[in-house]
């Protein structure tokens, strides 16, 4: 079939000149609404919905103080996930890219986060009545960058062997400078609930932006441990899952599928690559009417014969008329 013939054929389906029968559109819509409402109510009564309480910096610092302090130390020296993230939080890296396309970098640092200042120094400086703590912060800040790094690196090594008891930690070894005092102060502040508030309201009283507390928690293990338990990790098809036994976002199946296979599963640029693939596939999906082969498949695999079997049966029952050539409707 030539393209012109295909176009004519397509045009010939514009109008229906055949039979009609009575139909109550509003009644059908009302019945459908009633059915769906009833179904939704039944599902609600049977299963309800999940609501797992959020983690807080307070709960995190109490249940896993070693992880909290370790994370805080990596925020201080910029080696945390957020510290090395790049845009939109900082310039520490270029972020993800696809060949020469660096969208993450090009869109810039629009939500600046200085992990050392925002997560450690400023909260500590807001604590009053603790001169030894303030003195430790001053000592840290007036040291050279090399000295600061020496302290944090040594402390991180010590933390790997740290133990927790009764919500406080003990880190073996020495050579950590002011860090034990600073981190002890931060831990107490966090365990009292002060750090949650401080991170949220650092800009102004009224806030609805949880970027800082969430980035801080995401840099540690508190959210990931809960997520792994609930099979919500990316490697566990977590995007589609939900907490508990609830169905999740099932429609994300194709999106999460790519993360499970190479090269995406082992690439540092997995996110941008998957987004690119999904952008192309979404465009294909939207443009199906115009895509050769894809738009002919319904003719070749005749599921339509089942759908319209009543209509075809009706045609068979009619007396044969002279065949009318398919013509374009005016």
């Amino acid at each position: 079939m030539t393209r012109a013939e295909r176009r004519r054929q397509d045009e010939s389906y514009r109008d229906w000149k055949g039979g009609y029968r009575p139909y109550d559109l509003l009644k059908e819509a009302s019945i459908a609404l009633g059915v769906v409402l009833a179904l939704t109510v039944v599902l609600t009564i049977l299963f309800s919905s999940p609501d797992e309480k959020p983690s807080t910096i307070k709960s995190w610092s109490r249940s896993d103080p070693v992880d909290f302090v370790t994370t805080a130390t990596t925020e201080l020296d910029g080696s945390s996930g957020t510290g090395g993230y790049g845009p939109p939080y900082n310039h520490a890296s270029d972020g993800q890219h696809m060949a020469f396309i660096y969208l993450q970098k090009w869109l810039g640092v629009s939500h600046p986060v200085d992990t050392a200042k925002d997560f450690v120094i400023l909260p500590l400086q807001s604590i009053t009545g603790q001169p030894a703590l303030q003195s430790a912060v001053t000592t840290y800040q007036s040291a050279s960058p090399n000295q600061e790094t020496a302290w944090t690196s040594a402390y991180e090594k010590g933390l790997a062997k740290a133990s927790a008891s009764d919500a406080s930690i003990s880190v073996p070894g020495s050579g950590y400078g002011p860090l034990p005092t600073m981190m002890d102060g931060l831990l107490r502040f966090a365990q009292g609930g002060g750090l949650d508030g401080a991170l949220l309201t650092s800009r102004q009283f009224y806030q609805s932006d949880y970027t800082k507390p969430l980035l801080f928690m995401a840099d540690g293990g508190v959210l990931a441990n809960r997520a792994q338990d609930e099979h919500l990790l990316g490697t566990q098809w977590g995007m589609m899952n939900e907490t508990g036994s609830y169905p999740g976002q099932v429609w994300l199946w194709l999106y999460t599928l790519w993360y499970q296979m190479k090269p995406f599963s082992t690439s540092a640029n997995a996110d941008v690559l998957v987004m690119a693939v999904m952008a192309v596939l979404s465009l294909v999906f939207i443009l199906i009417p115009f895509l050769p082969v894809i738009n002919r498949i319904p003719r070749w695999i005749p599921i339509y014969r089942l759908i319209w079997r009543e209509h075809y049966r009706g045609l068979e029952a009619q007396p044969r008329a002279a065949p009318t050539p398919p013509s374009a409707a005016p």
Partner: protein, 63 residues
């Protein structure tokens, strides 16, 4: 308001892997609830096409 069936417990999963080692070529792991939703969709689609639609009186009146 408690639900009849409490779904706030660990889900069951349907798993399989293609290729071994620490990073298999492809691994499939879907929660049972999601698998059920997908299977229900396929069954409903098949039924929608296969089940006969009730006839109306006065059908096929020519315009």
């Amino acid at each position: 308001m408690a639900a009849v069936f409490n779904l706030n417990h660990h889900a069951s999963y349907v798993n399989f892997h293609v290729g071994g080692g620490s990073t298999p070529f492809f691994s499939f792991s879907m929660s049972l609830s999601n698998v059920i939703v997908i299977v229900v969709m396929l069954i409903v689609f098949a039924l929608a096409i296969a089940l006969p639609f009730p006839h109306h009186e006065g059908a096929g009146t020519q315009q």
